[in-house]
């Protein structure tokens, strides 16, 4: 199942396993499957791993394993997995309020794409998005799958503060801000869920390899209700597992 893997070492404590040269769900799935197999092997010398779009970064302790021995173990993983691991698809449902002050750019996105605001909400929320990787800031998901009918350019002058939980569009991408920060994405809604919280382990609701779906919330009251539960870690996130 891993056809063209390449081991590329970087410095004296990192090896990248490369699975291909482009962004696509098949290559990305190999990254996450390999990461899982590596974790199952329980190699103490492996300090941490970071899945990317098309590569897995492996950080190791050179006192505990030589690069050559680690490479051998990585090739074993490649050779052991002759067939695709049957993997179920995990879909995390993210409630989003697409209204009013929570959605300052919804109308702009609609106008830009010659759509009604209801159509933007419908198209945005009926799509499943793949979490290719998490990075940039704690809990920030790099999502793939935005329908081209919704793509909208970034703002020419970024806002100084975008509230945490904001759901936005930038060119052909959609994403969620896990923490408040400056940014130039077009904001079409906001989730009341805390995407990242150090009191949880793992601290991020989303893991690389998951899919997410945005579910419209009816009104502000529901938003506040979910927000309060989420802050107390009592909100039960709707996660579907489909084969």
């Amino acid at each position: 199942m891993y056809e063209n893997i390449q081991l590329i070492s970087s410095g004296d404590q990192v090896i990248f396993v490369q699975f291909g040269g482009e962004i696509n769900p098949d290559i990305n799935r190999q990254v996450h499957d390999f990461d899982k197999s590596l974790h199952d092997k329980n190699i103490n010398a492996v300090v941490d791993t970071i899945p990317g779009y098309k590569s897995l970064m492996i950080q190791y302790d050179p006192m505990q394993i030589s690069t050559e021995n680690l490479e051998t173990k990585l090739l074993e993983i490649k050779n052991d997995s002759s067939e695709q691991i049957p993997r179920k698809k995990t879909i995390v449902n993210i409630p989003v309020l697409y209204q009013g002050k929570y959605a300052p750019d919804l109308e702009f996105v609609a106008e830009h794409n010659n759509l009604k605001t209801e159509e933007v909400i419908r198209i945005h929320s009926e799509t499943e998005y793949l979490v290719y990787m998490i990075g940039f800031t704690p809990g920030f998901p790099y999502l793939g799958g935005l329908p081209s009918r919704l793509s909208t350019p970034r703002m020419s002058t970024p806002r100084l503060k975008i509230e945490k939980g904001s759901v936005g569009i930038a060119e052909t991408q959609t994403g969620i801000y896990p923490a408040s920060s400056p940014g130039g994405w077009r904001i079409i809604g906001r989730t009341p869920l805390l995407l990242f919280d150090t009191h949880n382990d793992p601290p991020s609701i989303l893991s690389a390899g998951n899919y997410i779906r945005f579910c419209p919330i009816k009104n502000e009251n529901d938003f506040i209700k979910i927000q309060k539960l989420s802050e107390k870690l009592e909100y039960k996130i709707n996660i579907e597992i489909v084969s």
């Binding site: 410095g11 941490d48 006192m63 505990q64 998490i134 990075g135 704690p138």
Partner: protein
């Protein structure tokens, strides 16, 4: 149970609580953080009888003023920031006893950028995702996710040993001098189709100045441009520690302790593990040059560093360098060194090169009984 140990009278420029860093959560976008100079930080802990990963203070350039509110043992390692205890200069890189009411002050920068204050027991702040390191960007870890400020009272955990052995650096190893010019060892990345052909010569033959915009996330460098073949962007991937990324303007940035976990810029080389500690002591405005080395050279330098720390932990460590391909014979049985200095595989006696043998007398203490024995270090033929 913890012990209120010291009070911050003046905070200094950037004084934070750090340990060896936060691992296991980079896949969720959580930076490693941790001490910038890991060698000095680990040494600071060994000197006061702590676990190496105990939390210490990282003191940056302009140090704090601290009052001790209990008797304890401390150590100062890393940069020389003119440290005084009750107005008397104190030695660095050794165990020091301090008493309640005494004041620790830091004055002008003499050498280096970051000093570490190790305290018996280790600083007691809550573990956040397995680490006590401060992540200032995301405001968690350390003390309330921030640098220390006036009036903070810092507690320590109960020391493992109530009575400490006074320790210092091994006799054969001098206190590090950082200086103003830094040669940093790097391993060049494979450059196929990424950088212009001359880029690897340029980076290893030029002088780069550390920009004032540098911080714990990265050092921005100013110097000759490194040109790309196909632009600066790549498909985003994990960021290795010490990776030297090159953005569109051709200027390199070295990724350090607080680096983002992923990035989308091309990377020309990676600083070797041991030289990350050297870099941590370089000040903005100072010059760096880069020397390209092989992974074997990087490993050797790493094993040597680990040996110094090992010797600080225990006086009974043999002062020889052991690395892959060497053999040790004990009581007639021969072992080959596999990985680092830890993994040994027994091999046949005939595999040892007879000219390479050197004998050492050694001593080991197990369960309070001391054994004297001879060991022989050789090389595989």
């Amino acid at each position: 149970m913890n012990i209120p140990t010291f009070k911050i009278l003046e905070p200094g420029l950037l004084t934070t609580i750090q340990d060896m860093g936060r691992y296991g959560y980079q896949k969720y976008g959580v930076p490693v953080s941790g001490a910038m100079d890991q060698f000095a930080m680990r040494a600071a802990n060994i000197l006061v009888g702590n676990d190496e990963n105990a939390a210490v203070l990282e003191i940056t350039a302009l140090g704090p003023k601290i009052e001790f509110i209990t008797d304890t043992y401390i150590s100062i390692t890393g940069a020389n920031l003119s440290t005084n205890l009750d107005n008397i200069p104190i030695p660095r890189w050794e165990t020091i006893k301090t008493t309640r009411g005494s004041n620790l002050t830091f004055n002008e920068i003499q050498d280096g950028m970051r000093a570490y204050l190790g305290i018996a027991g280790g600083i007691d702040v809550p573990l956040v995702l397995g680490s006590r390191s401060t992540n200032i960007q995301s405001s968690f870890g350390g003390l309330e996710g921030r640098s220390l400020k006036e009036g903070d009272i810092i507690s320590t955990l109960i020391p493992i040993d109530a009575k400490l052995d006074f320790k210092n650096l091994p006799d054969t190893y001098l206190i590090p001098k950082y200086g103003e010019y830094h040669e940093i060892k790097i391993i060049l990345n494979s450059q196929e189709n990424i950088f212009a052909l001359e880029a690897s010569q340029i980076i290893t033959q030029s002088k780069y100045i550390i920009s004032p915009e540098s911080d714990r996330m990265g050092y921005k460098l100013e110097g000759p441009k490194l040109l790309h073949q196909n632009g600066p962007d790549i498909i985003s991937e994990g960021n290795p520690p010490g990776a030297i990324q090159v953005s569109g303007d051709g200027q390199p940035t070295i990724l350090l302790a607080d680096r983002g976990t992923t990035g989308g810029y091309t990377k020309i080389a990676t600083v070797i593990s041991t030289d990350m500690s050297k870099l941590a002591q370089a000040l903005p405005g100072q010059a760096l040059t880069f020397k390209s080395v092989t992974r074997e050279e990087a490993n050797k330098s790493f094993y040597e560093q680990e040996k110094i720390l090992e010797m600080m932990r225990s006086k009974d460590v043999l002062d020889v360098n052991l690395y892959q391909g060497q053999t040790i014979s004990v009581d007639g049985r021969v072992f080959e060194i596999q990985d680092g200095t830890r993994n040994l595989t027994e091999v046949s006696t005939s595999t040892v090169n007879t000219d390479s043998k050197q004998k050492y007398s050694a001593k080991a203490t197990v369960n309070n009984t001391t054994h004297n024995f001879e060991i022989e270090i050789g090389r595989k033929s």
